[in-house]
Symmetry: D2
Subunit: 346 residues, 4 copies
């Protein structure tokens, strides 16, 4: 099969760099177009992308001349790492110009006609795209992935839907890389905890119910979700403690089995970015830990540990996922892989 040409909107930011880095070694996609703000236009990528990853800037991207974000230019498939302040207008314009926009931005996530996609969880939400095209009049399309903390929670809850989740309280300990660059000032977070991330709790609560919902997410999942979001001095990996109440009363063993046996379309299709298995259930008493476990499954697995009874709700456990991989660029690329397999990038 020929490589599929793709581009990146917002290529110079931290999420954009993640796209560029991951696409450089992707078996299906070839990144041939990098776009960013006018300030970077016409310059070599390496000179305008202050490289923040521990892997080197890919040779194939370093000297590529950055383009402006002009719809109609560039490949049909574009990944968007744009900042929310500009993503709304630009992504819409690209979809209107016929591009498939696979976006990490938050702007369209809660749009009832835009899939908020986790391929293992709600691959069926892609059926929204037909309606999206009609209603919006876009020859192209927009598909989004969730917020970096939402994805960990939604992946953990997905296999538990069989027990009818009634309520869930989650308290996060989120890495600084989730805030982009320059992001969190070191004076604020060195040796500290900041128990507030603007808009994050609302996103976790609303996005989770859309993702787990039916009818493409238009009927939200009927559970109550309460999120406490905190920033901690960790580089990569969002850790969260979760208490869950069920309508059915599964035993801990049944819950553990459900988590362990969870699998979805990406695993079935052996998509290149699909972790096998998507959920890793650890037995060790003091895991998962972001520094030791965030990279499991190439950063695409979610790790779950310390499953035990909750004196208030039914069960409680710890979940962890890599916020810039499963929670950002890796998520969008997996979305594109699924769409390609379903014939939706054509």
């Amino acid at each position: 099969m020929d490589a599929i040409e793709v581009g990146v909107l917002g290529a110079t930011g931290v999420v954009g760099q993640q796209f560029v880095s991951r696409l450089a070694r992707h078996p299906w996609f070839r990144c041939t177009w990098l776009a960013a703000s006018e300030r970077s236009e016409g310059k070599a990528y390496k000179s305008v992308a202050p490289w923040k990853l521990s892997t080197s800037i890919p040779g194939s991207a370093a000297d590529r001349v950055v383009q402006a974000c002009v719809p109609g230019k560039g490949p049909k498939v574009v990944f968007s790492g744009l900042d929310a302040s500009v993503a709304g207008d630009i992504e819409q314009a690209f979809a209107a110009a016929g591009h498939i926009v696979v976006s990490n931005a938050r702007n369209f996530r809660m749009d009832p006609l835009v899939p908020l996609l986790i391929p293992e969880v709600n691959a069926d939400h892609l059926t929204l795209l037909g309606e999206q095209r009609q209603a919006k009049g876009w020859p192209g399309a927009i598909v989004t992935n969730p917020n970096c903390s939402t994805v960990v929670l939604a992946m953990a809850l997905a296999p538990l839907r069989q027990f009818d989740v009634r309520a869930c309280i989650v308290s996060t300990m989120q890495a600084v890389s989730g805030a982009g660059y320059p992001g969190v000032p070191s004076l604020d977070i060195l040796g500290n905890v900041v128990p507030f991330i603007s808009g994050e709790e609302e996103k976790m609560q609303a996005e989770t119910l859309k993702i787990l919902g039916t009818d493409g997410g238009r009927t939200p999942y009927a559970a109550a979700v309460s999120a406490h979001c905190n920033r901690v001095p960790v580089l990569d990996g969002h850790t969260m403690t979760i208490s869950v109440a069920f309508e059915q009363k599964p035993s801990l063993a049944e819950i553990a089995d459900a988590l362990r046996n969870f699998s979805g379309r990406p695993q079935e299709l052996w998509l290149p970015s699909a972790p096998q298995p998507p959920l890793v259930v650890t037995e060790e008493p003091n895991r998962p830990q972001p520094r030791l476990d965030a990279d499991l499954g190439g950063g695409m697995a979610v790790t779950i540990g310390r499953l035990r009874d909750c004196p208030v709700m039914d069960a409680k456990f710890v979940a962890l996922g890599h916020n810039t991989v499963r929670g950002a660029a890796g998520a969008a690329i997996l979305n594109a892989e699924l769409m390609h397999s379903e014939g939706l990038l054509g």
Copy 2:
């Protein structure tokens, strides 16, 4: 009034150092006796206490010769910073020899005849001491303070008892100083989260209900408490997110008023270590933070912020307290201050 002579058991450890440091500038107590394991006996305090505080070792303690923990020696009132591995036998022997042991160790906390005291919350539990003396046959006594994470939760819940707390889920982000010295290896916690602290969740759950209970704690408070305990790379200050359900349905304003107006015997008596007020309710959206707020009230106040509705329970908020002050040495000293004011050290 003449100074009250006091001693410290386990004076060379980190909690012992906190006792020595705080007692050196105490208006009522004069620390004249430092005891530790045999290994330190007969040596100058400064040569056997590897000083870990940012304040200097007090001049009055530096050259004091360390004694063995022999009951009957030393002042009547002794503070105990002993390790749990030895505290049980030694504290019991001291009480049997007529000492008043004001202990930070966990060994007797759940003993039904030993007060687990937070002076603002359950000063009336001191009435246990008569029964303790009779039942145990001790001419002396043992009084304990709670675990360093428990005290923050119990202080936050105490004023909410008027609304009949039904259930509470707490997720902690605890400082490394809570683990003593050498404590948590840096390899484990630098840039990391460890979502497990051995025995901590059980202690938080059980101790909180005893503290809030009646009949000296023998009738535990009738609520369900579920704790998730995590270690984060913070030096001092335990931060925790708390969701609470009530039998009564107070408004957020009523809850805020209850927290703000909370006060107890220490405030009434203007005890030297009493924070005024005991609970600081902050309006800033991103507070409390351990680095900015742990020292409020000389480290003895608990700070509460982000009070808001909880989609699952009734209300949620963030609480923070200084784990080595309000959670250890400062707590025990406040206990002793209350006991002195009540004529119980005489």
Copy 3:
């Protein structure tokens, strides 16, 4: 004596906050005027100064209305915490309007007619002010304090001038608070070292020689200084390793005596901010450490440890100072105290 009224230029920044905080409890100075950029003009100080210190915002400042930096307005004596991008023009205008500007900004530090003052080291450089007034035609004056890393080095070398310092190599490990706010992004420094601070090495090298020099600093001290400047994940306190070669060949004991016996005008005059002694020489093998020692002498002392032979030069040691106290606001306030004692604020 009546309080001396003072103002603060750049009051809303981190250095400005340090000024406001320290002046609120100063025995001589009363801060009655807070000035900042036009964006803050007319607003309450607390609403435009995003408070970054662990002490609370002083009650006397919280509601004060912030003024624009207009020369001629405000008290005669103004402290400047202005950013270097604007400090040059504003400070000059204030001096021209008759103000005594006690500045922490770098703009005038290397001006041959402006004292670069460390009161313990070169109090005599204040004699420059007469010439400054004449040459510049300013009815007022400008006095500066050194860069936050320079001051530690210069304090350590000052007592060694008696042995004729020939050369010095210094390698710093600097705290993030030295970069202001937002300053260093956490993504850059968490668990990392950044071996570069723009312009810092040049400043350390040039400023040190001016400070130790004669004729008001116009004849630089005749030694070679080489600085390696590094940022490390520390909040407060610049630590540095120093190797020194001398023309005379003092023994280690003579060097230690020189450091221990060092004292200057501030100590002689018992200025309120003067540390007694200015240099603390520690015997412990693993000190000084920023977390344990930066606050010595109220943050105004420099701590020196590990004095030993250097196989390449003559001696080596470690020095530490508090970068936002002795290296910024505290330094400027000590400068003003000296000037007041010398009758230069009148």
Copy 4:
């Protein structure tokens, strides 16, 4: 070629884990024997090695039964990750029993008959082995690699020998992983610098001169080396600032060329662990940084940056190497690879 069987002494410690992890994917060596203290004997490796690496414990090692360190048992070639407190006796006994001991311990490093080997720098020191065998009467042999900070300095200085290094002052910022496990307590190093590492400066100074010396290191290199060693809150990667004086006076360009063109036997022989090139010279102004650059060359390269004039000596620069790879297990494995290529493992 058949795999060469190897064993690991001290397999359960952190260095031992590094050996086990790296050997599991080694193209030449097959690790079939894990030995540790009696406490671990007879137990499954995974149950006695508290795994501290972010890669998973290799499947081939997890269930292997740990043996006692008994000479004569196990493969001919053994890697030693033993603690210095026991390495002396055990390694000697193994050599006496015919084993080739490739050791990371410090005990024999300064023995005049034991090569202190960096394959790129002093491959010729292996000629000592004949004399070692004769003088010691060992049918086996001992070869060592340097201390984790020494190796970075020695690699950086090796290509500069052509300019006759006269003197060198180095100040290190060393990662906590260099201290093993549990190693540095978090209370000591979180947000702190500890300017002392016991014995480290002496090791850096002496080992460097042996490595760069002639006659198998018995004639030390004729330069003066002075080391300042500091611990910083970094996980992996020792960063150091270096000033060097030369007898010849090379230009910066000549120094840069010498560093860039440096290569040795491992590169010539394309040994599996050899980094290509061994020294990476970076042009970026704020590099190398441990978090971004320690993994270069699979952790086996040393990165050098900020080459510039030194006002005191001739040139100065920053060097960085991965302390647990190039500074420990990776170094020993490269030593064994060289020995195999030279026919010395046979």
